[in-house]
Symmetry: C2
Subunit: 434 residues, 2 copies
């Protein structure tokens, strides 16, 4: 298989003021268009539902995505060596044929550190879902998020599963209810929908995600579910997903550190009837870009909804020795509590940005680093340059903060996303469990 | 040279309740005794001073340690690839003979990211100090801490250096004034003093340190200066220091990530007149333990004085495959913002502790992990066990929090230190620069 690079470098050009800017036209240029009202049920073949089982006091706490045909499926899981029980079950299901028809997700309890009883409970969730939808158990994935170390209230959940099938017939608000059912400390629903054309057929991608503990994103459970009607075999779907994850969801985590439950699953119904996709297909890039846009959109929503966050921070690094180094620098900056605190305080503290650059592990030359905060350049060739503090403070008062770093060493490019560090982060995390 | 391990394992024994406890008798057992009122000027041959030059508005901002003889010296510096100008000067001095007679330190300005002018200024500080004390320039080390990216007010500093020699004659409060002169956002002076006996001679260690931005300790400037009157050649002093640093100051940082200015310097006057120390000396362990106690004491003070901190957190890990793995787990836990927030909120959230254990990079088996918070065991063989929430909350309300993790895989042992994450951390860092 050919190695392709989707570094996103094509999405940028150099402005005359030496600043890298996102092209608004990128999506159109790549013939990938957002669908404003779209969701996980927009691709052909999918329905969804959310229900209240009583694990949480008031909010919806159990969701399902169902596909009318067995869908090619792929998944990526947490790298944490402590993995929750549902991950074992989902791995087991996908390992059989690479096909899924249903994903059952509960929130409020992560079913992690729950030993053999926890694994039994997760298998019970799978079995109950298979029975209710009358599909083989191997076509069911299980996912959980919430508190660690407590046993599931499995009866409540099984009762919920029995009732949830009927709800998947209700089209109105179905995706919204699924989204709501998978949230924990999230404050907003996170969905995405993009379309593109392959073999003259419209291919749709839908996505739903949860995740909110973002100051050390590694420790927040991050769940994302992507649906598409593209026709693609599981092996190619896995290849595309693994590639895209590295440039999107892994760019809102640090060093591959992840929670006990992190999972991204993609299901492809094939109902768009395009020629089956492989990396030899002339429109393979189109497919991967569509998947990437969907994942990036969800990843940014997760970052923006970081616990207590008031701002989305995007770091773009160019001029690195290679894309990997660029990613390291971007992640170090966006993961720095000092940078995050400064942005919360609207303080253009570029010293903390260069400091993070220096310890990122990437190859750098301190004397060739340029840093800009939005349009405001603060460092050129490693030396501070005068800038208007007033203008900087004004910019940092907005909700979307862009930090540009140019290392001037090569053409490596990468992005990462995070959020500011606020009083509310501490408030939320000082009392989450109790 | 023989490889010796000072893992501190000898400092612990197993209690009947299966809990690892620090022995209060450790210091006495090792014949290393704390000197309550001691400081950097307690070892024979040293004096110190602190002065206000006007770089800071009110507080002391320039300090010096002076030794009446050229002292064997060793140093360890930041691993950050962006290194401040004074580090270049100190490296240059020590590289000549491994001897120092004076260390000049300013606070309020880190002289980092200041290009060739910054390096010139640091050399000017060295030259001025050499002239005032009438010693060769190669016997002077230079250190700075404070804001990054602004040029030193070098005239004010040189004027201060001219006046500071006279102050080193004043014995009263000299070490206190030096300590105060090197602080930034620190809230307490950090000093240490320990004594031991080698060849029947009393050997004294004194230490002074600063450092406070501890939520991501890597990004806070940490300076530590150790004095001793032991007789030891520079090469052995460096060997001892490098070893001890790994078990003390590096256990309050994460992954070797350090600020642009971090420096630890040790000076040995030799005036105790013991036989020159090498690792073949029968009391070499005694010397290294004394140095370790001094560094550990300072490291813990730095951790406790983390910005906004209200508590010191000590994590002890045993049963790892090796000491390195134990250190990784201890550092991952103590570096976890979620753990730190939970401790601030007096929430015995062991789920976050096992989560950090899982992503630490160390070899673990999720099913053999025990966790205790103080005397309260919360996890046994990877499974939660009932405990009194009330008792746990009460314990977490105290100022010194101990977390014990036993991996049950081998006999690797390690410790790490940190502090809780509070509202005040955010307040301090949202507005440090401005």
């Amino acid at each position: 298989m050919k190695e392709r690079v989707y570094s996103g470098r094509q999405f940028f050009h150099r402005q005359k003021n030496n600043e890298v800017k996102r092209l608004d036209t990128v999506i159109k240029n790549n013939s990938i268009t957002p669908v404003e009202a779209g969701s996980i049920v927009t691709p052909k073949g999918f329905c969804a539902a959310g229900i209240h089982t009583g694990v949480k006091r008031y909010r919806l706490d159990l969701g399902v995505i169902y596909c009318e045909v067995p869908a090619s499926s792929a998944a990526v899981y947490t790298l944490n060596k402590v993995q929750a029980a549902p991950i074992k079950v989902t791995k087991d299901s996908i390992s059989k044929e690479g096909k899924l028809q249903a994903i059952i997700v509960n929130s409020g309890n992560a079913n992690a550190c729950t030993g053999t009883k926890g694994v039994e409970d997760a298998f019970t969730m799978r079995q109950a879902t298979a029975e209710v939808f009358d599909i083989p158990e191997r076509y069911v994935a299980v996912s959980s998020t919430g508190v660690i170390g407590e046993f599931l209230q499995i009866e409540k959940i099984v009762n919920g599963i029995k009732k949830i099938k009927a709800l998947t017939q209700v089209k109105f608000d179905a995706a919204e209810r699924f989204n709501e059912a998978i949230l924990t400390t999230d404050t907003i629903n996170k969905r995405a929908c993009f379309q593109t054309t392959i073999n003259g057929k419209t291919i749709t991608f839908g996505g739903a995600a949860k995740g909110s503990g973002m100051i050390h994103p590694n420790m927040a459970t991050m769940l994302a579910f992507i649906t598409t009607d593209a026709n693609i075999e599981p092996v190619w779907l896995q290849k595309a997903l693994s590639h895209v994850i590295d440039l999107t969801f892994n760019r809102i985590t640090v060093d591959g550190d992840t929670s006990t439950n992190d999972t991204v699953v993609v299901m492809a119904s094939g109902l768009a009837n395009n020629e089956s996709l492989t990396d030899e297909h002339p429109e393979w890039d189109q497919f991967v870009s569509g998947l990437q846009m969907t994942c990036e959109h969800l990843a940014k929503k997760i970052a923006r909804d970081g616990e207590g966050a008031t701002k989305l921070i995007e770091v773009q690094v160019k001029g690195a020795m290679n894309d990997e180094d660029a990613g390291k620098v971007a992640k170090a900056i966006v993961g720095s509590d000092l940078v995050k605190s400064a942005i919360y305080g609207t303080d253009a503290n570029w010293g903390r940005i260069i400091c993070a650059t220096g310890y990122s592990g990437a190859e750098i030359n301190p004397d060739t680093i340029d840093i800009s905060i939005g349009n405001i350049q603060t460092l050129k060739n490693g030396m501070p340059i005068p800038f208007s503090e007033e203008e900087a403070t004004q910019y940092l008062g907005t909700e979307n903060i862009l930090i540009y770093v140019d290392l001037h060493l090569g053409d490596g490019y990468g992005k990462a996303w995070g959020c500011d560090l606020t009083y509310d982060y501490v408030r939320i995390n000082a009392g989450y469990r109790t």
